[in-house]
């Protein structure tokens, strides 16, 4: 497996294929090199380089004190990170899988999210919590949860998720640089997705909170993020044959939410579908559909629809393809956007 360190070694400047995992590793490395207060901690992040090898090479380059294998206790990890941040460090915590962040929820909700507020701004916590999330990798139970709804419902957190190799780098750099706690959700099944990428001149570090239009179109808007972006882009290509010209918005940041970009797109197209893996009920789609409707009601030709995971615990590997929103389901939803009403 090539690694961030390997990428770092290849300082040619010429774009070459890199995976999202490599771009993330590089973002960590560059942040650590630039700012000695950046510390990485978590389970297996040191010697092993993380189970997804995102932190590979960091312990070697920066030492065990900068990239630390902790005891196996997520509340302890995040709680310790709080203390480190209180003393002026900038901890980056890795949770090994989505479901294994749950033991840390009390620390997250009652402290990480609230500390700046409860101290009247005196004690901000610049902590980044990296959480590999979502399914599609054939993981056994508890390894494929889409947990973004929990984070979105917690004021005080930023919730960021990249869908491209460039964003993986740029958004992680921005998250680490942020003076607020950021939940950085890494779509597991995109870890090995590749794009041409120049380690010499990596993607710019963009401010957190801006969505981006990945594909322009006039018929309807697909609103999505993270693991579902490739699905939506593929659906948009397939839709051309059916006569639909779909716009695709990649949210990138669930909190803060970029109402402006999203609403502008939907006002243009008049129709929208929200697509995500997370269970539909109580998932991000409800919030997104509600806010779009509040802002674009008189522009809407049809209700904003949602294509989401079913309202069930994540299935066993052999059945996950039936659960995950795929191209067909997206196109079905687009078909249900009451096109007859037009004519």
């Amino acid at each position: 497996m090539t690694t961030a360190a390997a990428v770092a070694g290849t300082r040619t400047g010429k774009p070459r294929p890199a995976t999202m995992a490599q771009a993330l590793g590089r973002a960590l490395r560059d942040s650590m090199a630039e700012d000695p207060s950046v510390h990485v901690l978590g389970e297996d992040v040191g010697t092993l380089g993380g189970v997804f090898r995102v932190t590979d090479g960091l312990a070697k380059e920066f030492g065990d004190d900068r990239c630390t294998d902790t005891p196996l206790a997520e509340a302890g990890i995040l709680g310790a990170a709080v203390g480190m941040a209180m003393y002026g460090l900038r901890p980056v915590v890795e949770m090994q899988f989505d479901a294994f962040a749950y033991p840390a929820f009390e620390q997250l909700i009652s402290h990480v999210a609230k500390m700046r507020n409860r101290t009247g701004g005196a004690m901000p916590l610049p902590i980044t919590v990296r959480v590999p999330y979502g399914g599609g990798i054939g993981g056994v139970e508890h390894h494929s949860d889409s947990s973004e709804a929990y984070y979105m419902a917690t004021p005080g957190l930023h919730v960021v998720t990249p869908a491209t190799v460039d964003d993986a780098y740029g958004l992680l750099r921005a998250s680490i640089a942020s003076d607020d706690p950021v939940i950085f959700l890494e779509p597991k099944r995109l870890y090995w997705s590749k794009a041409a990428w120049s380690p010499e001149a990596p993607a710019p570090v963009e401010p957190i909170g801006r969505a981006v239009v990945r594909r322009t179109g006039r018929s309807a808007t697909l609103i999505t993020y993270g693991p579902s972006l490739p699905v939506c882009l593929e659906a948009a290509e397939a839709a051309v044959a059916e006569g639909w010209d779909l716009e695709v918005v990649d949210l990138r940041s669930l909190v803060p939410f970029d109402d402006e970009t999203v609403a502008a797109s939907v006002r243009r197209t008049g129709r929208a579908v929200v697509v995500h893996e997370s269970a539909g009920f109580g998932g991000p789609g409800g919030e997104i559909a509600a806010r779009v409707t509040e802002r674009c009601f008189h522009h809407l030709e049809a209700p904003v629809l949602r294509v989401a995971g079913f309202d069930i615990p994540y299935p066993a590997p052999m059945l996950e393809r039936h659960h995950l929103p795929g191209v067909d389901r997206v196109l079905d939803a687009v078909a249900r956007l009451q096109w007859e009403a037009d004519s």
Partner: protein, 386 residues
């Protein structure tokens, strides 16, 4: 303020704080200074030869099971397999010390314990094959679902044992966890509840030296994991986890103690994970060959085989017979795992709630339409090909 009213120093004699008394004598809770061993020691003379032979057959079978399951990952028949090669003595002893009415709480690494308890290996491996989350009815076998979120099964074992005791049932729960798992808050809370409730539960920590890549020294600074017992007011026992006779004896005593209503015990079995964490892991990244080799000399099958052959309880024929029995089991397992499981996608909605909600009914209906369309498409394709 009451202070000023009180008389001076005259009558004052220091006393301990009024309510204070040591709740338990700590001395009996402390583990032995070294892992307890039977094989090759004087204690071996007391061991029941039939039990030793039974343990031997099971160890050989268990080793073969681990090898077979690992092979199945290579053939794509298992999504993942966390091998217990090297830890068979713990797995087997944990299963054998329990009565049928008792409960076992295994982690993801403990399918072998479930199999040794009598579970069909195919059912034990279902989770890891990837067709269903749990391949068996936990209540029928009194084996809790294999647990992945670390240490979370421990409070379950405590609650179950407590419930059984409240109902007057003579049931013990044995819960398995790794060295890494002892760092989780749930470990702490479970042991504390167990001690306060005097629940009939035995905690078996398999200290196999690593939590994935993290060695014990980064996991704890305690004298031993068994020493944690003292802080809960339960006895801690330290045992050589590769000595099947010793593990069986120590666990057996802990189970008997629990059954007598004397409360929980924490057992640390010192062992070693000979394979990588799972087939997906690369152990060379974090440990050297020499360490592995040192442990190979302390292999649980080897230790027992030497004891048995040394005492003339086992000969070459016996060794071959055990191996052959294991091979038969493995061949059967291989064959049965080679069949594709038949799965019904509609099962996704069947067991979320006792009664399907309106919303799930709608979602199920939508999936059914999709599946029918897929099916028709499939038929059309077949038609075309004709």
């Amino acid at each position: 303020m009451t202070v000023q009213e009180l008389p001076g120093a005259a009558a004052y004699r220091p006393t301990p704080p009024p309510a204070w008394k040591p709740l338990t004598d700590p001395a009996p809770l402390l583990p032995d200074p070294e892992p307890y061993r039977v094989l090759g020691t004087d204690a071996a003379a007391d061991a029941d030869p039939a039990l030793l032979l039974r343990l031997y057959t099971e160890l050989v079978r268990g080793r073969r099971y681990n090898a077979q399951a690992t092979a199945l990952t290579k053939q794509g028949r298992l999504a993942v397999y966390p091998s217990s090669t090297g830890q068979e003595a713990c797995e087997i002893a944990a299963a054998l010390v329990l009565e049928e009415r008792d409960w076992l709480f295994p982690s993801y690494r403990d399918t072998l314990a479930a199999v040794a308890r009598g579970l069909d290996p195919v059912e034990a491996l279902t989770l890891l094959r990837g067709d269903r989350h749990t391949g068996y009815d936990p209540r029928e076998h009194r084996i809790a679902p294999l647990c992945t979120p670390l240490a979370t099964q421990l409070p379950h074992a405590v609650g179950l044992a407590h419930a059984a005791r409240l109902k007057g049932d003579d049931v013990v729960a044995l819960a398995m966890v790794g060295d890494g798992g002892t760092s989780e808050g749930d470990f702490h809370e479970a042991l504390n509840f167990a001690a306060v409730w005097r629940a009939p539960v035995v905690f078996l920590v398999q200290n196999n030296g690593f939590a994935i890549s993290v060695p014990l020294a980064k996991q704890t600074a305690a004298p031993s994991l068994a020493h944690k017992a003292v802080g809960y007011g339960m006895p801690g026992r330290l045992v050589d986890g590769n000595d099947a006779a010793a593990v069986h004896q120590v666990l057996g005593e802990a189970v008997a103690r629990a059954r007598r209503g004397e409360g929980p015990t924490l057992v640390e079995a010192v062992t070693y994970r000979m394979d990588a964490h799972t087939n997906a892991d690369d152990a060379t990244r974090y440990r050297g060959d020499s360490e592995v080799e040192a442990w190979r000399a302390h292999d649980p099958i080897r230790l027992l085989e030497r004891e048995l052959t040394g005492r003339g309880l086992l000969d070459d024929d016996g060794i071959v017979a055990a191996k052959e029995a294991a091979d038969v089991m493995a061949a059967g397992l291989r064959e049965r795992m080679n069949a594709d499981p038949v799965l019904d996608p509609m099962s996704l909605f069947a067991h979320v709630y006792a009664e399907q909600t309106e919303q799930l009914r709608e979602q199920a209906a939508r999936l059914r339409v999709e599946l029918e369309a897929e099916h028709d498409q499939h038929d059309d394709d077949a038609e075309e090909r004709r």
